[in-house]
Amino acid sequence: MQSMTDNSSHDGESSPAGNVVEFRRVSYRAPNGQKVLQDMDLAIQGGETLVLLGRSGSGKTTSLKLINRLLQQDAGEVLVEGKPTTQWDLIQLRRRVGYVIQEAGLFPHHTISKNVGVVLRLEKRSRSEIRERTDEMLRLVDLDPAQFGKRYPYQLSGGQRQRVGVARALASDPPILLMDEPFGALDPLSRNELQQQFLRLRDRLQKTIVLVTHDIREALLLGSRIGLMESGTLIGSYTPEQFKVSDDPAVRAYIEAFGGC
């Protein structure tokens, strides 16, 4: 199944049509000089959900941040919709790429509704449109706007805050969604619920999604493809079925650590 281990730049210089996000020999060093990513290649096609799986410190979050240019690579190219991120207008790039971070990062001084509508307000949408869209997004993540809309983030549970984070990222309908451990730090039941919800949303919204996790079960459940990261590079990419039966030692190590899946 060599064709599925995705290293498109090895196949030639041009990006195949349909690659919404692409890394070409990307390297990134932290400000302190530490090499975080090295020669990483990656290609994500439109509409797929790529799960980046890898142990702590392997460079998953860093990879996400290179896509919306919260960080900038030292070498290589990151392309979004075929255009290098360095050539994008930064604000336009970030409007096309929704970003969900683990701690949600909600604005503590805004109500839940106001949090969800941040980008809509920046885009100067009409009041009624913002209101409608905000309520719609909250319902989408299973939060009653009447009950939660006027609350402040501190009045929500961790899982509810994470859902608001997702609603906020979806509000302006960005075609690309980056999610950094969006269901981390949750009890297994709530986590399961959110994962099921994610699957329903995924099928309905047809977005290109990059989701980070170090939970192999989550990766197998949510990903249409799994990218395995190790010490700063992508060492392979697999469909969930391929992943389960792969005899790649790195994959086996993962599966065995989880007691076989």
Binding site: N68, V97, Y99, I101, G105, L106, F107, P108, L122, L178
Partner: protein, 210 residues
């Protein structure tokens, strides 16, 4: 005592207004200069030590000496109030600059990251996220500065800038406690009153919390 104050009501009232004016204008200047300096420190970490250091050093100069240093300055030296206002503003700088800086740096990094990730511009990040979240800190700095200034402003009378210090200096010269109190008491009340009312504003600016 009460008799004295009642008798000199008008004079004391005028001096109090003068005092409020000196402090008010100097705080406005300190806010207009200090908040941008504090913001600058968060954007250019290299300038941090230079700005904080300067504000710190100013604070260590005895106020009377600072008044004196400014006397020969052109334009400023021409009017005692100008010197007083500049001195008070300089003194007020440190708490305002420091609190603006701490307040902004205290914003949860996840909140800042989310804001940047959503495509807020630098200005939007500052005005919609950082400053609102730092507002109560900044206000606390303004409050400290105001209370300090009300005290320091009494010394401005030494260079003839007026204010409640007039009574204190006259009382000292004439060894007249009543006269001293006629200046000290309203100054203390003024400090207390502004501390309370600005504390109230500060509480109103505090973002909702756990």
């Amino acid at each position: 005592m009460l008799h004295y104050i009642l008798f000199h009501q008008r004079e004391i009232g005028e001096a109090t207004l003068e005092h409020i004016w000196l402090v008010g204008i100097s705080i406005l200047i300190a806010v207009a200069v200090g908040i941008p300096l504090g913001i600058l420190m968060t954007r250019k970490p290299r300038l941090r030590t230079a700005i904080l250091g300067s504000a710190n050093i100013i604070q260590t100069i005895p106020s009377l000496a600072l008044f004196g240093f400014l006397l020969p300055a052109p334009w400023l030296g021409a009017r005692a109030e100008r010197i007083a206002i500049v001195t008070l503003a300089l003194y007020s700088l440190l708490p305002i600059v420091r609190n603006t800086y701490t307040g902004i740096m205290g914003v949860d990094p996840a909140v800042r990251e989310a804001a940047e990730g959503m495509g807020l511009t630098n200005g939007q990040l500052l005005f919609q996220v950082e400053l609102p979240l730092a507002a109560s800190f900044i206000m606390a700095g303004v409050r400290t500065a105001t209370v300090i200034s009300i005290g320091v402003a009494t010394i401005a009378a030494a260079i003839g800038a007026g204010g409640l210090g007039e009574f204190i200096f006259r009382g000292l010269a004439m060894v007249n406690n009543q006269l001293i109190l006629a200046g000290a008491l309203p100054a203390a009340l003024l400090a207390l009153g502004s501390d309370l009312s600005l504390g109230w504003v500060e509480a109103g600016l505090t973002p909702p919390h756990v």
